[in-house]
Every structure is written in structure tokens, then in C-alpha cells.
């Protein structure tokens, strides 16, 4: 009995073999089962239907968009025209490159800084680690606000430069804390053994700690990458020239605000001479789809680590 009620936590969380219902649990009612099914179906539909419609519209012919008079739900004729148009459009191609470049460079910078700092703070009793930790944590609770940050980055010459999308947001203290908690949990025997073999801290981090923390490293890298890929406000703040814009700003300007996109509009004659049309819906949705793509592609590989990797960080904050 004692063994039962004081089982280690991990074992207590496991369900019965292969998720079977425990014998003491009453059988589910039919109504309850149907209700649950309906709710889950609705939840799935609310997330997936818009994504389906957007991707389908990006592959649809102008005729089928005209029939639907908006997003296409039932396909009538598919075409790759929108994607061909994208790759002949300087502005969009360039924004794809900018978003990709900022994401790759930014993620590398952030990961290097985060991993080293997290490891540097993970050793109980090392010199100054409490003080440094406090200096980091303070920034989670108080900030100077948008205006002083803007003035600082402008003074440093970041206005109009790509580094203004990376350096000011390169460090996430939350991510450092999550990684630090994991590093601190590395088996001390492994670290000791490495030290016996004459390994310094850098080598221990690279050869021992990182390989045993793959899950959390993958999750944190995904968080940083998504942050850079999605970065919108910094670009709005620091990059006034649309030749330098990342994808998010392109979508904001040409889809949400409905401005005419250079190189896509048909120049009208007559009454509206000189006005450009807004980009066709299929083209807009193709840009949106391309922005969704990397997230949807990378997500499944990292997603299985979420529960494992994030619980600790999410709860302990």
C-alpha cells in the first residue's frame, strides 16, 4: 500500500497499459462521447479550415477566385501562376531572402549567446552567478519602454540596418532560465568524468552537456527562429525602405493595408490612369502560404519535445 501511494511521480502520471481505462472508472456515457467528439472536431476545424482555404487559394486560378469571390474552399482549376509571379517579383523575392537571412543569422547568434550564458550560470557555487542571474531576471520585470530603445538603436546607427532586427532582441532571459535549469540537471558523474579526463568548461559544454540536452536545445532554437521569422515591429521601427523589408512587413502593407504592390498591379488607363491595382488575391495568399511554410515544416520535428522540454520552463517561469 505504501509503495502504491508513494510511487514516484513519473510512474503516477502514466496511464494504464496502452491508455486503457482504469477498472474503477465508470464507462463513458454515449452523450458525453459525442459531445467531446463534436467539440474537438469544431476546435480542429477552426484552426485548419482557414489554413486550407489560404493554401488552396494560392494555387487557384483567377476564375475560381472570381467564382468564390474571395478565399476558395472548393477547388475549380489549380495553377502555379501565383508562385511563378512571386519569383519574378523583386520585392517579394528580396523579402524572402531578408526573412531567411535574419532568421538564420539571428538564431545562430541567439543560440550561441543563450547556450553559453545558460551553461555559465548552471554551476552552483560559481563566482558571481547569483548576481549575474539577478541582473538578468530584473529585465523580465522592468523595461525602459519603446522610446528609449528606439533612440538608442538609432544613435548606434541601427536605423535602416539589418542588425536592428537581431541584436536588440537577441537575448531572451526566459530561454536562458529554461536552458540553465536543464543544464543544471546534467548527471554530475558525466561532468566529473570529463573533468578527470582533462576537459575544460568549453569542452564539457560542447561534448557532454549539449549532447544530453538535445530536446531543450531544439525547442529553444525553434522559439528563437520563430521569433525572428515573425519579427514585425522592429522592422516597422527601423527599416523605412521597402527594399529591405522582411515578409511580415510585406504582408502587412500589401495584404492588410491593401496598398498596391510594385511590379504586380496592372496599370489602369482612363479614369484611374496611373493607379495600380492591388495584388491579386492568389498572389497575396501565396506570400502568406510561403510565410506559413517553414513553421509548418519544422514544427513536427520539434513538436514532440514540447511537453518534455517546456514543462519545466513554462511552470517555473
Amino acid at each position: 500500500m505504501t509503495t502504491l501511494s508513494f510511487r514516484p511521480r513519473q510512474a503516477a502520471t502514466r496511464r494504464g497499459p496502452a491508455g486503457q481505462r482504469p477498472i474503477w472508472d465508470e464507462k463513458p456515457t454515449a452523450g458525453g462521447q459525442v459531445g467531446k467528439g463534436v467539440i474537438m472536431f469544431v476546435v480542429l476545424a477552426v484552426v485548419l479550415v482557414p489554413l486550407y482555404a489560404i493554401v488552396l487559394t494560392s494555387f487557384s486560378t483567377q476564375a475560381s477566385i472570381n467564382v468564390a469571390n474571395g478565399l476558395v474552399l472548393v477547388p475549380h482549376g489549380l495553377t502555379l501562376a501565383a508562385y511563378q509571379q512571386i519569383f519574378t517579383n523583386q520585392l517579394i523575392v528580396h523579402s524572402l531572402l531578408v526573412s531567411t537571412g535574419v532568421t538564420v543569422v539571428g538564431t545562430v547568434v541567439s543560440m550561441v549567446v543563450t547556450v553559453t550564458c545558460a551553461y555559465g550560470l548552471s554551476r552552483a557555487g560559481s563566482f558571481g552567478h547569483r548576481t549575474i542571474l539577478m541582473t538578468l531576471v530584473v529585465t523580465m520585470f522592468f523595461s525602459g519602454g519603446i522610446v528609449p530603445s528606439f533612440l538608442l538603436v538609432s544613435t548606434l546607427g541601427g536605423y535602416g540596418r539589418y542588425w536592428s532586427l537581431i541584436l536588440p532582441s537577441a537575448v531572451s532571459v526566459f530561454n536562458i532560465l529554461v536552458m540553465r535549469a536543464f543544464f543544471a540537471g546534467t548527471a554530475p558523474e558525466l561532468i566529473d568524468a570529463a573533468r578527470m579526463d582533462g576537459a575544460g568548461e568549453w569542452l564539457i559544454l560542447w561534448k557532454v552537456v549539449l549532447p544530453t540536452s538535445r530536446a531543450v536545445t531544439a525547442v529553444i532554437a525553434l522559439f528563437y527562429a520563430v521569433g525572428y521569422w515573425n519579427s514585425f515591429f522592429n522592422a516597422l521601427l527601423y527599416l523605412p525602405d521597402n527594399g529591405k523589408w522582411p515578409m511580415q512587413l510585406v504582408i502587412y502593407t500589401y495584404t492588410l493595408l491593401g496598398d498596391s504592390m510594385p511590379g504586380t498591379g496592372v496599370t489602369n488607363t482612363g479614369q484611374y490612369a496611373g493607379h495600380q491595382q492591388i495584388a491579386p488575391l492568389s498572389l497575396q495568399m501565396a506570400v502568406v502560404s510561403l510565410t506559413l511554410l517553414p513553421i509548418v515544416v519544422i514544427y513536427p520535428f520539434v513538436q514532440r519535445h514540447f511537453s518534455k522540454g517546456m514543462l519545466l520552463g513554462a511552470i517555473k517561469g
Binding site: 474571395g70 512587413l249 492588410l256 517561469g317
Partner: protein, 329 residues
């Protein structure tokens, strides 16, 4: 049993500390020796500390420009000091108070309508026995968390906007259209719906963790005592989640003045300033866009200080409920 197992792990850890330099020995070590011993670790923390010093601590100090009349050509050091003028102007500014009110109202609506949803979803998912269905639903509802606000608002516009899918269906059936994307009156519910679509799925992670940590034998014992599933939910599950629920509530209250800055900014043109102006957008528009830097900095500083007070107060509240909150008492 488990006490022994858990204790078994602890001595191993302390033995390691003893080998690396035991606490009693370390006390006698001079700080020079300790810096020398830990220099690699200190160097490792340097890049992060440097970046935070430049891009977070300097702007913190830069917030003093709220007491100046900032001039781009004079910089922080040479701009004229004006005392509390910016704040007195701010506090007599109707637009500022309107932004403040909007922030609180949107925050309150989100607290009431958004907060229970992840809890309910987590309970629902936890009751699904088929693990394949469970993990599939989980994967799908986490996904929108990784989309940017630009994408989320675009998706809402294409679905619910004037030319969106829903209105097309309404129009085809001869029902009048309703463009919720440009309706200032319902904007607070719209942004809450967007927040739910984007974040409610992700929000269930912590609650699922709390549910997994509830001791299953409690359920068994309760069932043996004749408690049905609703009574078990009320007397075992919910008390088991209490700590996490209080923690999430504390986080939410501490962040009450931050309500989706990008989300508001993006929809400002569609719905108008009146409905969408919150403290952060006020700071941005009056400080950066209108080049009235010191005025914006004053609004930003006001928000920063008030937020800090809110976090501390929310923690007090958590402690009063006997929970840990963000930090222990």
C-alpha cells in the same frame, strides 16, 4: 519508498559539489582564486550580459528622458531638463486616459473570456483515452502559437472581413453582411477571439502538466468511496490544478497593461484609433511616429512602473492564497 529514491539522488549531487570545491572550502577561498577558477564560466556569460547591458539597461537609464525635452541633436546628455512637465501634460491628456481605459477593458475582457478556455481544453484532452487522437489534437491546437500577429490578423480578415468567407456565405443567403474587422464597437471581442485562436491551444501545456502530476491513486480511492466523475473533477482534479491556475492568473494580472501591442498596431487602420489605442500604441505613436520622444518616454515609464507594481501586487495576492506565485515568499 520514493522518499528514499529521491533522497538517493540528492547526495550524489552534493557529493559532486564537494568534489568540485565543497561549500565550506569555498568560503575560505579568496575572490581572486574563485574568479580564476570560474573564469571560463564568467566569460561564457559575458556576451549575454553585454547585450542586455546595451539593449536593455541603457534604455532603462534612457527612460530619464521622460523628464527632459529630448532633442535628437542634443542627445540624452544635453537635452533640456523640464522636470515633471511631460507627466502633467500626460495626465491631462484625454487621449492618454482613453488609451489607459482601453487597455484595462481589453485586459478584463480577455481575462474573463480567454482564461477559462485553456483549462477547459486541457480537461477535455486529458479525458481522451486514445493517445493518438490526443496528440494529434494537441499538435494542431499548438500550431497557431507560432504564427505572427500579421498572419493571424490576415487569416481573420480573409475569414471574417467584409470580403471574407463567412460574409460571402451570408451574402449568398441574402443575410446582411457584418464586417467585424472594422467594427469599433466589438473590437475588444474581436481581439479576444484572435488571442484565443492564437494562444489558447498553447496555453493548455501547463495545465496538462498539472493534470499529469495529480496522483492517480487519489482518483482510485475516491471512486472506491463512490465519487462519480464530476465529484472527482471537483474534489481532486481542480484542487490539483490550483497552484498552476493561480500562477497563470498572477502572470496574467501582472501583464494586465500589455495587451497585444502588434495586434493593436496592425488593426489600427481598419478599426480606427478610438477602439484600438492602448498604452503601448500610444507610446509608439506619440513618441516615435510624432517625434515627441520625451512625451512617449513618459507614457512608457508610467506603464513600466505601473506594471512592476502590478507584478509585485499579484504575487502578494498569490502568497495570500497560500501559493508560490512567480517567486517564493
Amino acid at each position: 519508498m520514493s522518499a528514499i529514491i529521491e533522497d538517493g539522488a540528492a547526495p550524489g549531487a552534493s557529493r559532486d559539489v564537494a568534489r568540485a570545491g565543497a561549500p565550506p572550502v569555498r568560503r575560505r577561498m579568496g575572490w581572486r582564486v574563485r574568479i580564476r577558477r570560474d573564469r571560463s564560466l564568467l566569460i561564457m556569460t559575458a556576451p549575454a550580459v553585454l547585450l542586455l547591458a546595451v539593449f536593455t539597461y541603457i534604455p532603462m537609464a534612457g527612460a530619464i528622458t521622460a523628464f527632459q525635452s529630448y532633442d535628437i541633436y542634443q542627445g540624452f546628455r544635453h537635452s533640456a531638463w523640464v522636470g515633471l512637465t511631460n507627466f502633467t501634460n500626460l495626465f491631462s491628456d484625454r487621449i492618454f486616459w482613453h488609451a489607459f481605459e482601453n487597455t484595462l477593458v481589453i485586459s478584463a475582457v480577455q481575462l474573463i473570456l480567454y482564461f477559462p478556455i485553456p483549462i477547459a481544453l486541457a480537461l477535455l484532452l486529458n479525458s481522451v483515452m486514445n493517445s493518438r487522437i490526443r496528440s494529434f489534437v494537441q499538435s494542431v491546437v499548438y500550431l497557431p502559437h507560432f504564427f505572427s500577429w500579421v498572419l493571424v490578423v490576415t487569416i481573420f480578415q480573409e475569414m471574417l472581413g467584409g470580403a471574407g468567407v463567412v460574409n460571402q456565405v451570408l451574402r449568398r443567403h441574402g443575410i446582411g453582411i457584418w464586417n467585424v474587422m472594422t467594427d469599433p464597437g466589438t473590437f475588444r471581442y474581436l481581439v479576444t477571439a484572435q488571442a484565443i485562436w492564437k494562444e489558447a491551444g498553447w496555453g493548455i501545456i501547463v495545465f496538462l502538466a498539472a493534470l499529469a502530476a495529480v496522483d492517480q491513486s487519489l482518483y482510485e480511492a475516491a471512486a472506491a468511496d463512490g465519487a462519480n466523475r464530476w465529484r472527482r473533477l471537483w474534489h481532486i482534479t481542480l484542487p490539483g490544478m490550483r497552484g498552476v491556475i493561480v500562477l497563470m492568473l498572477v502572470l496574467r494580472l501582472g501583464n494586465a497593461l500589455t495587451v497585444g501591442f502588434e495586434q493593436m498596431l496592425i488593426q489600427r487602420q481598419a478599426v480606427g484609433r478610438d477602439a484600438s489605442e492602448v498604452l503601448d500604441t500610444f507610446t509608439y505613436y506619440y513618441g516615435v511616429v510624432n517625434n515627441n520622444f520625451s512625451y512617449g518616454a513618459a507614457a512608457g515609464l508610467f506603464k513600466g512602473v505601473l506594471s512592476l507594481i502590478l507584478v509585485l501586487a499579484a504575487n502578494r495576492l498569490a502568497h495570500a492564497f497560500g501559493e508560490d506565485g512567480l517567486y517564493r515568499k
